[in-house]
């Protein structure tokens, strides 16, 4: 393993060096370029630490997605004054003193903890084989089944997985997407009175209603997923060789179809009713959708599946927020395209 320290030094110096270059660069495009190289080199560090999936993820999302966006932003806002914007000496002073102090504190504390500075003995081939399969363990953890390398048996299923954070993050991404689109939209203003043909249209154009329908259908399908998916998820996990403890969880949770049929049918019926109502009356539709979700959540709690109930609650909250936001944000009338107001 000792050769790997050379590789570590190589990637570490590239990461820090390019980060420093990004700090010192005056031109913002060059700064973005150095940042790309720095983040790419740090993904090399991740590969070295055995986190292949995280390294590839860093390259794909961080470097390939986020930074392309950033460079796009740089180009959209590039003017000569903006490209090279110099900072005053006092700015540099007030930046370097606290960050230098923080670096000294962090680095010395990192090197002061004995547990973090023990050289690890070369791992056995079995351990390497078990630990190298991090990708599938990551996938299982995101489905709610967390395993450490080489681990099987009663302890394996007992730790909480990451299904819940995964759901939260997906809703967060959705909200961020809507928010970003809302913020970056070009503001348009009607400069002439609305033409008769447009003013005569109903307040909510047809496709907005379809938007509500799509969101409602999303809600209904999520309801169905939470009703039937825990079973499916657990069974898939077991079929793919999950430890026996999960099988015993299955039996203790009473996740058989007979138990779910009645509340499931009720919830789906209520959500479908809400869906139908959304078409005609938004507020009561939202209310009924909420009711359907409440039924689901209460059922989950009743049957002891607390984590799933929490998950359903968060997802319900997110969808309701989204529906409400759409309800308030959508314009009352379709407006003609007019000049962009800056």
């Amino acid at each position: 393993m000792d050769w790997s320290f050379l590789v570590f030094l190589f990637f570490a110096s590239l990461t820090c060096g390019f980060a420093l270059a990004a700090l010192l660069a005056q031109n913002v495009v060059r700064m973005a370029f150095f940042l790309i190289l720095s983040l790419g080199a740090s993904s090399g560090l991740f590969f070295l630490a055995g986190a292949e999936f995280i390294g590839a993820m860093q390259l794909m999302i961080y470097v390939g997605g986020t930074l392309v966006l950033l460079v796009f932003g740089v180009m959209l806002t590039a003017s000569d004054a903006a490209v090279t914007m110099r900072s005053s000496v006092s700015d540099w002073f007030f930046a370097c003193v606290p960050s230098g102090a923080i670096f000294i504190v962090l680095a010395s504390s990192a090197l002061a903890v004995p547990r973090w500075n023990e050289r690890q003995p070369a791992p056995s081939p079995e351990f390497v084989a078990a630990a190298n399969d991090q990708t599938s363990r990551l996938g299982l953890a995101l489905l709610g089944l967390r395993l450490e390398p080489g681990e099987e048996g009663p302890a394996a299923g007992a730790r909480a997985g990451y299904l819940f954070p995964f759901e939260i993050v997906s809703i967060h991404l959705l909200v961020a997407l809507v928010g970003a689109a809302h913020l970056a939209r070009a503001k348009r203003r009607a400069i002439t009175p609305l033409p008769e043909s447009i003013a005569a249209q109903p307040a909510m154009p047809a496709w907005y209603r379809y938007l509500f329908n799509v969101l409602g259908a999303l809600a209904a399908s999520k309801t169905a997923l939470y009703l039937f998916a825990p079973q499916t998820l657990f069974e898939t996990a077991v079929a793919y060789g999950a430890p026996p403890s999960v099988a015993s969880e299955l039996t203790t949770l009473n996740l058989s179809f007979e138990h779910w049929r009645l509340p499931g049918a009720a919830a789906v019926a209520v959500v479908a009713l809400g869906l139908a109502l959304l078409r005609f009356h938004k507020v009561s539709g939202l209310f009924v959708e909420t009711l359907g979700f409440m039924i689901v959540i209460v059922q989950f709690w009743y049957w002891g599946a607390t984590a799933t109930a929490q998950m359903a609650a968060v997802s319900w909250l997110g969808l309701t927020m989204l529906l409400t936001a759409a309800f308030f944000a959508l314009p009352e009338r379709r407006q003609p395209v007019a000049e962009v107001v800056v």
């Binding site: 050769w3 993820m57 390259l59 794909m60 399969d133 990708t135 599938s136 299982l140 099987e152 060789g241």
Partner: protein, 438 residues
């Protein structure tokens, strides 16, 4: 390879270094020689499509040394930097592009177990690194200080970022069907007759291959999606100002990534290094039981198979380029957002359901004495969810041997009974399974 160098008496770090350099050298040869061959081939293919002869003189017959002559010409050209350019970024951009196209080859297997690095998320890695090539183009276009270059770069950025989404969605489907993102595993699961290739798995994978091909052509900026260098509007787009060696680096990056996406298509949909007829399985050479030398021959022919499939993919791209007119930018984005993404999403759901309900696929009707993909997957997952195989070990030796003939005779054509299902007291049998195990 490292072990071999270490046995020669090199210290371990030197053995690692030598192995890495040797692999990098081999891969560099694949990219560079591939580019030379493909440039010559592009000239000949385009000439045939336009009813011309193409290069005929350099190197005697067929002008096969034409690309070498081109290369020499490019090397002797003056390396010009425009006065308005940002010199640092202008000079570095071609290297960024080329190294991104080159780095993706690290995880690409050329035959069973033959890749520079065995990565268990290789498909994801290749996609990720392929997406980085756009940086070279954006930076080169911006740093050139010319409006044509900037237009080309912006078009390229918009195009590549939007086409990454359907491309990833198409790659997810084979990864899902094989239960792994390891390209070795995906390739090895398609062993056997050509009916076991994933493109023939179900109608949805058949459709999604074409979506993949469209998105791949778009993501490597080939016609009809070559808006970034639209020579009829933008002079030469992002590389207007480049000349000489730096220009040829962009060119090598383009051809390198073309080969790469074709290779990825070959592994994901066309069985990778497995030929249409499992000759080496029939001969018994493929699993190493007939001796190391014959095993090596089988692997070598696997690599030949793979390179042949890559070349076919690249030729198909050339054929497209010289047959179709260039799209407008709005048409490019419409193709992506209105067609590719919805079709790929529907195919994803469809392929998932097809697999979930165990609908028949064409390989059920063909002889499959080496195990269907599902059999291979079952054996693979039986090994446990955690310890699948030692890192870097060739997969072919890691798999259990193929089931014997009589146990296969017991298995019906739809494979509802697995050969070893009766032997082990299966805990799955007691649980309501949602998947009909083929």
């Amino acid at each position: 390879m490292v072990e071999a160098f270490a046995e020669w008496g090199l210290p371990i770090w030197a053995a690692h270094l030598t192995a890495a350099l040797a692999k990098a050298f081999l891969l560099l040869n694949v990219v560079a020689v591939g580019t030379l061959v493909f440039i010559w081939m592009e000239r000949k293919v385009s000439a045939r499509i336009q009813d011309r002869l193409g290069p005929t003189r350099v190197g005697g017959k067929f002008g096969w040394l034409q690309s070498v002559a081109d290369g020499v010409k490019l090397l002797t050209k003056e390396d010009v930097t425009p006065a308005t350019a940002d010199p640092l970024l202008y000079k570095l951009a071609p290297y960024v592009s080329f190294s991104a196209a080159f780095a993706a080859y690290i995880a690409l297997p050329f035959s069973a177990g033959w890749s520079a690095v065995a990565m268990n998320c290789a498909a994801f890695y290749v996609l990720a690194v392929l997406g980085l090539e756009v940086f070279g183009v954006i930076l080169g276009g911006y740093a050139s200080g010319s409006k044509w270059s900037l237009f080309g770069a912006m078009r390229e950025a918009a195009q590549v970022v939007s086409y990454e989404a359907p491309l990833a969605l198409c790659v997810v489907i084979p990864a899902y069907l094989c239960g792994s993102m390891d390209l070795h595993v995906i390739g090895e699961m398609q062993a056997g007759w050509f009916t076991n290739w994933l493109i023939f798995h179900d109608p949805f994978t058949f459709v999604v291959f074409w979506v993949y091909f469209t998105c791949a052509v778009a993501s490597v900026n080939r016609a009809p999606f070559d808006l970034a260098e639209a020579e009829s509007e933008l002079v030469a787009g992002f590389h207007t100002e480049y000349s000489g060696l730096r220009w040829s680096l962009f060119y090598m990056a383009e051809y390198g990534s073309m080969t790469l996406v074709s290779g990825l298509a070959a592994i994901l949909f066309f069985g990778g290094w497995n030929g249409p007829i499992p000759i080496f399985h029939l001969l018994g050479w493929a699993d190493g039981s007939a001796g190391e030398g014959l095993h090596f021959v089988a692997l070598l022919f696997g690599a030949v198979n793979f390179l042949l499939k890559c070349t076919l993919g690249v030729i198909a791209m050339m054929w497209l380029r010289w047959s179709l007119p260039r799209l407008r930018i709005d048409q490019v984005l419409t193709t992506c957002l209105k067609y590719c993404i919805p079709i790929a999403a529907v195919c994803f759901v469809g392929a998932t359901l097809w697999d979930l309900f165990g609908a028949p696929f064409v390989n059920d009707l063909a002889p499959h004495p080496y195990g269907t993909r599902a059999n291979v997957r079952e054996r693979w997952t039986d090994a446990g969810t955690v310890a699948l195989r030692p890192a870097g070990a060739p997969l072919s030796s890691g798999l259990p041997p193929a089931p014997s003939a009589d146990s296969m005779a017991a298995a019906s054509f739809d494979g509802a009974t697995r050969p070893d299902a009766a032997a082990e007291p299966n805990r799955r049998a007691e649980l309501p399974t949602i998947r009909r195990i083929r």
